[in-house]
């Protein structure tokens, strides 16, 4: 089962290595990990998506808590938080089908941010299901490359 953890950490050197090292040492898998500073420069927020059973999730959070630089961990259940990820798709597009691809992008409120003779790059922001939907549609034209930020999230309210 997928879980979304929001981990507040001290903004100190080596913290990312400690967190990543813990996951690999204890045999836990990270799906995505996004990290950046918060409004307070002393702290960073890591948003981690992982696939784990309930029991392992409990171990993961307890072990994470033991890291001295980890300040707070929230697990966001469905509906408790808003989450987004940003994906860039490089899609094969020539003069013939470019218009249709732009139409798809419009429907998903995605942006065309680069156009060349054979490709376009589309920027799309949203939830996993929205991204999956546009990816399915774009794949029929041929996705050349894809880059994602991973999920970032904040609790509602």
């Amino acid at each position: 089962m997928k879980h979304l953890l929001s981990v507040l950490v001290e903004n100190k050197p080596g913290v990312l290595a400690r967190v990543a090292g813990l996951f690999s040492r204890r045999g836990f898998n990270i799906d995505t990990l996004a990290v950046g500073p918060t409004d307070d420069e002393h702290f960073s927020r890591m948003t981690i998506v992982l696939d784990a059973e309930e029991h392992s999730l409990e171990q993961i959070t307890k072990q994470l808590h033991k890291l001295v630089n980890v300040v707070k961990i929230n697990e966001f259940r469905q509906g408790e938080a808003v989450n987004r990820e940003l994906v860039l798709f490089k899609v094969k597009a020539d003069a013939k089908n470019r218009a249709r691809i732009i139409e798809i992008a419009d429907i998903f409120r995605a942006k065309i941010i680069d156009v060349s003779k054979n490709n376009v790059i589309i920027e799309v922001t949203g939830t996993t299901s929205k991204i999956k939907a546009i990816e399915d549609l774009l794949s029929q034209y041929g996705i050349v490359e894809l880059a994602t930020t991973g999920k970032v999230a904040l609790s509602r309210g």
Binding site: G14, A17, H65, V68, V71, K72
Partner: protein, 596 residues
């Protein structure tokens, strides 16, 4: 945290000094009297600051691994934080085993490493190793000092982290330029670690629930471990056992948490535990687990472990609770606090005497005692340990052990009476731990009789430390149980690998025929001659190969002022019994007669 006088004086005025001097001043403020280590290139400024210092004494070890083990032994014997120091690169990597050992057994040590100058970090400079990276999975926390002004704060935090909560090793990596840089030194009073708030005081609701379960239980057992010793909770443990009439079994690291001669003590449980301890934990309806982690060497086959029992699991580390066994009643807190609270809560109630259960346990004790048969002739290793235990019982004695058969016999037959007197490498199982940890223990407890019980294999991993013993006039007594094998490996080969003694014979050489499983006969001579080895270091060496000489030789060794090494040439193929095969339930124990 306690503040000492010198601590206060330092705080009153900030003084200009170098990073090295600030390091030593900080160690003084933490009450450090001794550091185990070896100098090297990038440590020159730090050792220079130690040169004229009278408060912090550097002990020159002969290998950095042993420096870490000595700090570990010092910490286990005294309850204080042990400190070791090593230079960059190979010095630092040599510490790794010792740090891992302290991590697995939750022992508070601070390891200081020198690092190459900041400006060349990352360039593969001479003797550069990323020691904070290398040790990441085996430290409680670590620091690479990037600004000399952070140094006092980092040292303060390191000691605090090492000894509070679940104790463990903390590493501080100090680049040479930081040691040389100038600092306006003052030692901080406050600690600000927003992510570190260990729970010490137990939740009262959980305590009440646990007390209720204890009152209701018909056949409870206390399963106590190293957490009881590190929390200084031995007397509270005995109070609980006596008040509520509950037998106690301990882990290897829990030995000494309750007097071995106490009528409620069942000794060690697990793979080489006593039958009565393993039977009791299998039949129990309530396990009161305190300061333990349900290690596989204790539980055997987890699915079969104490199937009918409810579990109260009390530990300072919430991550241990539910890791291997899901408890009915989890309690997070220090063992001392929890045990005290439990005793107070139970005092409010009338408690069952459990005479039937205690009679059953006593009956197991009588029917299945630990035993060995010593005939005239070659001494049995069990007999040697038994005799050491008997002859040292009137003295303040500390035992340290190697790892393997020697360790298990020591655990089974040595009668520890107080906490911090049985020092052994549990989680990591580090051969060679006995001798250097004895050095640390003897420095920490100069008046105690420190006795190493070691194997010939274990001892040879660290024998260079005889120098450290000799030059510091440490009166450490060393008993080597020489069976000319890596004995525990040989035992497993005998039982599980059809007696294929592959590379476990310490007499074998390259001319030996493949397929040999018979000690004796045309074997090459044993190397080294331990008596001559001891003498080469200026230490008294004695050899015993007859059972009748065991007692008088140990008596003689105890009488001699300085260090003595006794080589006991013991029965070669003696096995540690009882034994639970790996993966088997712990009430299915093998004995001598089960082995072909």
């Amino acid at each position: 945290m306690a503040t000492t006088m010198s601590d206060k004086k330092i705080k009153e005025k900030s003084i200009k000094m170098t990073g090295s001097e600030a390091l030593i001043k900080s160690l003084e403020a933490e009450g450090v009297e001794i550091i185990f280590g070896i100098p090297g290139g990038v440590l020159l400024p730090i050792y220079d600051a130690l040169y004229m210092n009278r408060k912090v004494k550097p002990i020159l070890m002969r290998h950095e691994q042993c420096a870490a083990h000595a700090a570990d032994g010092y910490a286990r014997a005294t309850g204080k934080v042990g400190v070791c120091i090593a230079t960059s690169g190979p010095g630092a990597t040599n510490l790794v085993t010792g740090i891992a050992n302290a991590y697995m057994d939750s022992i508070p040590i601070v390891a200081i490493t020198g690092q190459v100058t900041s400006s060349v970090i990352g360039t593969d400079a001479f003797q550069e190793a990323d020691i904070t990276g290398i040790t990441l999975p085996i430290v409680k926390h670590s620091y690479l000092v990037k600004d000399v002004n952070d140094l006092p704060r980092i040292i303060k935090e390191a000691f605090y982290l090492a000894k509070t909560g679940r104790p463990g090793p903390v590493l501080i990596d100090i680049p040479k330029d930081i040691s040389l840089a100038e600092i306006n030194f003052s030692y901080p009073e406050e600690i600000n670690l927003p992510g570190y708030k260990p729970t010490v005081k137990a939740n009262q609701k959980q305590i009440r629930q646990a007390a209720k379960a204890i009152i209701e239980a018909k056949k409870p057992v206390i399963y106590a471990g190293g957490g009881v010793i590190s929390a200084e909770a031995a007397s509270e443990l005995t109070d609980l056992a006596e008040l509520a009439h509950i037998p106690v079994t301990t882990t290897l690291l829990g030995i000494g948490a309750i007097n071995s001669n106490h009528k409620l003590n069942l000794g060690m449980l697990g793979m080489h535990g006593s039958r009565f301890a393993n039977y009791a934990i299998t039949e129990t309806d309530l396990i009161i687990a305190i300061g333990v982690r349900f290690d596989d060497r204790v539980t055997g086959k987890l699915a079969e472990f104490a199937k009918g029992a409810r579990v109260i699991h009390a530990d300072i580390d919430p991550a241990e609770i539910g890791k291997n066994v899901e408890p009915k009643i989890p309690i997070v807190g220090s063992a001392k606090n929890i045990l005290h609270a439990l005793v107070e809560e139970l005092k409010k109630h009338s408690l069952p005497r459990r005479s039937e259960w205690l009679k059953q346990v006593d009956d197991w004790k009588k029917r299945h005692p630990l035993n060995y048969e010593q005939k005239n002739g070659i001494p049995k290793p069990e007999f040697v340990v038994d005799t050491i235990s008997e002859l040292t019982k009137g003295k303040n004695t500390i035992i340290t052990t190697g790892v393997g058969q020697n360790q298990m016999w020591a655990a089974q037959y040595y009668k520890a009476k107080r906490p911090r007197t049985f020092i052994s490498s549990g989680g990591l199982g580090t051969m060679g731990f006995g001798l250097p940890s004895a050095i640390g223990a003897q420095f920490g407890k100069p008046k105690d009789l420190v006795f190493v019980i070691d194997g010939d294999g274990s001892f040879q991993m660290v024998s260079q430390e005889l120098t450290t013993i000799k030059v510091n006039n440490l009166p450490v007594k060393i008993a080597i149980l020489n069976n000319s094998y890596l004995g525990m490996v040989r035992q497993w080969q005998q039982i599980f690998h059809g007696k294929h003694y592959s590379a476990s014979c310490l007499q074998a050489d390259y001319t030996c025929e493949p397929g040999c499983s018979q000690p004796g006969g045309k074997c090459p001579p044993y190397v080294p001659d331990f008596v001559k080895l001891a003498e080469a270091y200026g230490i008294t060496g004695l050899r015993v190969d007859k059972a009748k000489d065991v007692k008088k030789t140990i008596e003689k060794a105890i009488k001699i002022d300085g260090s003595v090494l006794i080589e006991f040439v013991v029965e070669k193929e003696e096995n540690v019994f009882p034994m639970v095969a790996p993966g088997a339930p712990i009430n299915q124990m093998l004995d001598k007669d089960d082995i072909v």
